[in-house]
């Protein structure tokens, strides 16, 4: 029935593809019909999302902040949210629909997802409170940082790292210690005495931005 030379597998049925192929592209391809407004989204968000992400999508404890941070990307400690960093609204819809709420993914109806996404836009001051997001209004929304990304340019901007003859002798005059991990003291230790001051130090130093952030 198909071109393959091994004759292994079977044809995927339309219902099966529809069940698994949920991804939404930046141009809106993949969006189901539906709609949701900001005020409905506020209710759904309060019920499904706010326990981790806060009533205003501002984040609770270490859970991700979904709103705020606009204009901070070139700061020492940028706050990267849907409003300040994400390039495409499709990603928000796709990710919420497929993988949220954390621990109960794929339990939201399309209209709920539209409403939640509308509320996230509102929380980022990107739409008014009477805004209705639907498969038809979707591509009319452009996020602030849509132009904030460049393709990997390492081959050009870092081409000086390709170096046929790296220095082997007399490469520098002096070597001084400029930073010590033991001063920061955040490595898990046998003795727990270090734990509490460590966290305070980390926050001050602004280097504890988790590299492997929670979902």
């Amino acid at each position: 029935a198909y071109a393959g030379s091994y004759g292994l597998g079977r044809t995927a049925l339309p219902e099966e593809i529809a069940a698994w192929d949920l991804d939404v592209s930046p141009d809106g391809t993949g969006l189901p019909a539906g709609s949701g407004d900001v005020l409905t989204g506020e209710e759904v968000f309060a019920e499904q999302c706010a326990v981790c992400h806060g009533d205003f999508a501002e984040g609770v404890d270490n859970w991700p902040k979904l709103a705020g941070g606009q204009g901070t990307l070139d700061h020492e400690d940028p706050l990267k949210t849907v409003g300040s960093y994400w390039p495409y609204l499709s990603t928000t819809w796709d990710y919420v629909n497929r993988s949220m709420p954390f621990g109960a993914a794929q339990t939201l109806e399309p209209d709920e997802v539209y409403a939640i996404v509308a509320y996230i836009l509102y929380s980022n001051d990107l739409v008014d409170e009477d805004f209705v997001l639907s498969d038809e209004t979707f591509t009319g929304v452009e996020l602030p940082n849509a132009g904030g990304f460049i393709l990997d340019d390492r081959l050009e901007s870092e081409k000086h790292f390709w170096n046929p003859e790296p220095c082997m002798e007399n490469c520098k005059d002096s070597v001084e210690i400029t930073m010590r991990a033991l001063v920061l003291d955040v490595t898990p230790e046998e003795t727990s005495a270090a734990a509490e001051p460590a966290e305070a130090v980390v926050e001050e130093a602004a280097v504890a931005e988790p590299v492997a952030e929670p979902v």
Binding site: E16, L73, S99, D152, C167, K172, A212
Partner: protein, 427 residues
């Protein structure tokens, strides 16, 4: 952090205990004479007289109890919870290049799921001639390949961008493992579905996603998908571990670990990239001016001295010392590693344990006669593309401090006269 992990943490006490034992061993070694006969030799030991375990004692064995510190470690403050989180391979204690699966690092976004072979399905859809569903058993009937590759998390060493932070190679460089994979080339599966419908391959993509709640969807250019990507079901000879994607994961040689989708369930051939959460919000690298690089797929050449290191101090005193470590590159094979003991003033070419192979870990050694003075140990990898591992200063000059990912800078360990080592940055 669990109590277990605390117990296994490196500590001053552990170091002193090791140093004391080492001093005894050194006194009894080689050329130096010893006055008192060693009772471990002169007295018959229990193991030389009694019996050990029968062959039925351990159908599937774990390491001997004395190696219980060679385990994955968690750093509690890195993430909000342990479900979407990371742990670290104990590279400071390993040798050679193959990572034992049981202590190979994990990174999940919605936990390690349990998916049995009978329930496993792999779908190929999108711009293919016939969308297909494979069972696990189907996959085992395709022609198979065996290849060794490293899987390095894009965030490996990410905590070190702003400075020396975590004290140990396990923590600074342990988001990595290296295994021998057995599986089917992705090209074979795509061709089974037929690619005539895709037209010109040059501008086409595949979107790959897992069966877990996070899905971890990523876009990969079709060109790479047809090159060396594997759909793997065995690692280091046996089935994948649950936490590594059982029963099937993607192997994307040389590229950031996030793209090595575990519990792989669907591959879609597409006209463009999805720009999913894992390639927009995450795994994009913010530069100093606030603009971010996207699609930084390759992991550049990198190395680290695994011993001596903060968790593997010198406990044997002066004299012969094995300096060893790992080097790897996502752009090809390691062609050489230089080691410096003086913080980069002078470099000596190390010996490779075996010739470097494409996109896999390479072991290096430098055997020295340590005079007991302090050292600033560094290693510098070179790869077959001509790339030379940069310093952190060089990386920061291009990227600033907020890239999070792709920190492949030269690491410095300050080895003190006591033999202890510390993670430092030097000028």
């Amino acid at each position: 952090m669990s109590d277990k992990a605390k117990t296994f943490a490196p500590s001053r006490r552990q170091f002193l205990a090791g140093a004391a034992a080492g001093a005894g061993a050194a006194a009894a070694s080689a050329a130096s004479a010893t006055a008192t006969p060693d009772p471990l030799i002169t007295e018959v030991q229990e193991w030389a007289s009694g019996l050990g375990d029968g062959v039925d004692a351990t159908p599937y064995g774990l390491p001997i109890q004395f190696e219980q510190d060679v385990v994955r470690r968690n750093v509690e403050w890195l993430t909000a919870d342990t479900i979407s989180s990371i742990n670290f391979t104990p590279i400071h204690a390993l040798d050679g290049t193959i990572t034992p699966q049981g202590c190979a690092f994990e990174r999940h976004h919605s936990g390690a799921i349990e998916l049995k072979k009978e329930d496993y399905r792999l779908m190929i859809n999108g711009l293919v001639d016939t969308p297909l569903v494979f069972s696990y058993a189907d996959l085992e009937r395709f022609p198979r390949e065996n290849r060794v590759y490293f899987c390095e998390c894009a965030a490996n060493s990410g905590m070190e961008w702003a400075g020396a932070q975590l004290n140990g190679a396990q923590f600074t460089h342990g988001m990595i493992h290296n295994m021998e994979y057995s599986g089917v080339s992705l090209r074979t599966l795509l061709e089974e579905a037929g690619l005539a419908a895709a037209g010109d391959f040059k501008d086409k993509w595949v979107y790959v996603e897992g069966a877990d709640a996070s899905s971890n969807g990523r876009s990969i250019p079709l060109e790479k998908a047809l090159d060396d990507v594997l759909v793997a079901f065995k690692a280091n000879g046996e089935a994948l571990r649950k936490e590594h994607g059982y029963p099937v994961r993607l192997v994307v040689p040389g590229w950031e670990g996030n793209m090595w989708v575990k519990w792989l369930r669907r591959i879609e051939v597409m006209d463009g990239p999805v720009e999913s959460r894992e390639e927009t919000s995450k795994y994009t690298d913010t530069l100093a001016n606030g603009v971010a690089r996207k699609w930084t797929w390759e992991m550049d050449a990198k190395s680290v001295v695994t011993s001596p290191s903060p968790q593997a101090p010198i406990t044997h005193g002066k004299g012969p010392l094995v300096i060893t470590g790992l080097a790897w590159s996502g752009r090809g094979a390691i062609t050489g590693v230089d080691v410096s003991t003086d913080g980069g003033k002078t470099w000596t070419e190390a010996r490779l344990g075996a010739p470097g192979t494409d996109k896999a870990l390479t072991r290096f050694y430098l055997d020295i006669n340590w005079d007991g003075s302090e050292m600033f140990l560094q290693s510098r990898a070179r790869d077959s593309s001509g790339y030379v591992q940069p310093t952190k200063t060089q990386l920061r000059e291009v990227r600033g401090l907020n890239s999070i990912y792709h920190n492949n800078a030269i690491q410095t360990w300050w080895v003190k006269a006591t033999g202890e080592a510390e993670n430092v940055e030097v000028s």
